[in-house]
């Protein structure tokens, strides 16, 4: 189940390097691959049934790119991944997730390591860029409803580092909270009131993405 919150290590992530981003997005690729049937199912109910395969295709391509040319900075990793999503996903989610990562990558510049707080702020900038590009706000029943609660948690840790487990919980709750909402953006909005009663597929995939941060943090411990 994609909304089960994994018990991640409680210690916050205080430093982020290229390896962390790579592990994060590779873990995301695995999680998305596993959940792709469910994402497609959700998108069938209030969209066009392609969100699972879109995400799977995109994240598989990101993984390939990383394997072909491992990035050396977290900013480059995010930027490259975002570009790859844009050029392989299509649909609404391609430009939106692509923008999330590209904008976050741009915010991190060329540093080889950034603090957890900087990483959190970069993701917030990415999320703001998604909101701007798609013209959506929180409560419109989109991925923003999972992303914003998560970045709020991530940005509130300060020197204690990124509380990725709490961020995942916030994202999952945010995705769950889309159920009663009436969609105002994207395909689901065509359904009007019939869009109520369903989780937004993009919010669920966003929660998966945030959940993968915890897995990347675990990997960090292993080092």
């Amino acid at each position: 189940m994609t909304d089960e919150v994994s018990e991640a290590p409680t210690g916050g992530v205080t430093e982020v390097d290229a390896g962390f981003v790579v592990r994060w997005l590779e873990a995301a690729a695995v999680a998305i691959d596993r959940a792709s049937g469910e994402l497609t199912e959700l998108d069938s109910a209030i969209g066009d049934g392609d969100h699972g395969s879109n995400m799977r295709r995109g994240f598989a391509a990101v993984g390939e790119t990383f394997r072909g040319e491992p990035p050396t900075t977290p900013g480059a990793a995010l930027t490259v991944a975002g570009r790859r999503l844009v050029s392989t996903v299509g649909g609404a989610s391609g430009p939106l997730y692509g923008t999330l990562l590209r904008r976050a990558g741009k915010a991190l510049g060329e540093a080889e390591r950034v603090s957890g707080a900087e990483f959190g702020e970069a993701l917030r900038a990415g999320t703001d860029a998604v909101a701007q590009l798609g013209g959506a706000v929180r409560g419109d029943k989109t991925m923003l409803d999972a992303l914003y609660p998560a970045v709020e948690v991530l940005c509130s840790g300060g020197a204690a580092g990124l509380d990725v487990a709490a961020a995942h919980r916030a994202a999952a709750e945010g995705a769950e909270a889309t159920v009663p909402l009436r969609a105002r953006k994207g395909r689901a909005s065509y359904l009007g009131e019939r869009s109520e009663g369903h989780r937004d597929p993009g919010a669920v995939s966003s929660a998966l993405l945030v959940g993968a941060l915890a897995l990347a943090a675990e990997g960090d411990d292993d080092e």
Partner: protein, 330 residues
């Protein structure tokens, strides 16, 4: 899963191989997923490029050819193509006179085409974009910008394509395309749900004896479910919905469009009812096109698109077109 396919992931690529095999007059780039006129770029001609998710065939690849599109970019099933693909298509067909993107109004298509326009312009290709947003099932307010692009896409591509073929400039082709988009409205009904290869089963459960009013072309449910209606009742509902915000003061172009799995004999029967109710509402029909043109895979159902015509639009409609999906005079 009742599909004549190899594997779901290869449906679009396989179809492009088939197009390449069947239509030597087209240049089909299977790898990059671009279908273009074999003779593109055509000197001194504004080029038209469209694209969108696959599953709506013959739209758009079937509308590539003299008098219509210069190139089409198919995405995955129901998934907008990606910016690189469209930018590459634009560069491949631009004769220097600029390129018009014909974009159906969906978040994905709009965002990807916007990015493509940036990429293409970076490469020195002049890009204009026209949005098709004709589906009256969405939002009472046409100015909301939320209406989906459906059947009117055919009218925009045919009419703007004809004007481009005559040698008109980018401004003129863009203006005409916008005029056609503004003058067109669509409304659709579904009698069955779509099965996509990715999902492998029907997108939603539509029991026998019920229908969905106000559907789009991506298998999403409609605005309202109703007990089964007769062709006559459906035509009444569809035309009345259209005439609620299109008040033609002259003859119209009519597209009686099948969603994919509705037999032609039913479409013609439906066409008779559409003509009947238009007659009752005092609307004259100048041209009628009946068939499966803007489809939704194996969905049963139909849509009606009306476009307010004038002498210029009729001339452009009648102009030769030579594509695999629409052809006359050539």
């Amino acid at each position: 899963m009742r599909m004549l396919i190899n594997v779901p992931e290869r449906v679009v690529g396989d179809a492009l191989r088939g197009m390449a095999a069947a239509h030597p007059e087209l240049a089909v780039d299977v790898e990059q997923r671009i279908v273009r006129r074999g003779d593109a770029p055509v000197a001194d001609k504004v080029a038209l490029v469209s694209g969108g998710g696959s599953g709506h065939e013959p739209l758009h690849g079937g509308f590539v050819g003299p008098g219509m599109l210069d190139a089409a970019c198919p995405g995955e099933i129901f998934t907008s193509p990606v910016p690189d693909q469209m930018a590459r298509a634009a560069a491949a067909v631009d004769s220097g006179n600029g390129v018009l993107f014909v974009v159906k109004n969906y978040t994905g298509d709009v965002l990807n085409f916007e990015m493509a326009a940036e990429l293409a312009e970076d490469e020195g290709v002049r890009i204009r974009t026209v949005l098709v947003q004709d589906d009256v099932a969405i939002d009472a307010d046409p100015a909301s910008g939320r209406r989906r692009g459906t059947g009117a896409t055919l009218f925009v591509e045919k009419l703007a394509g004809a004007l481009a073929e005559e040698g008109a400039a980018l401004d003129e082709v863009e203006a005409l395309a916008r005029r056609v988009a503004d003058a067109s409205r669509s409304f659709g009904v579904a009698l069955s749900a779509v099965t996509t290869p990715a999902k492998g089963g029907p997108m939603f459960d539509l029991p026998d004896g019920e229908l969905e009013l106000g559907i789009g072309i991506h298998g999403e449910p409609g605005r309202e479910r109703r007990p089964m209606m007769t062709a006559q009742e459906i035509a009444d509902a569809a035309v009345d919905a259209l005439l609620e915000d299109l008040t033609p003061d002259g003859p119209v172009l009519a597209l009686v469009n099948g969603m994919g799995a509705t037999p032609l004999i039913e479409l013609y029967g439906f066409c008779a009812e559409v003509h009947r109710v238009l007659g009752e509402r005092g609307v004259a029909v100048a041209r009628t096109l009946v068939g499966n043109y803007v489809t939704s895979l194996d969905m049963a159902g139909a849509s009606v698109t009306l476009c307010q015509a004038d002498a210029e639009l009729l001339r452009l409609w009648d102009a030769p077109v030579r594509t695999t999906g629409l052809r006359w005079g050539a």
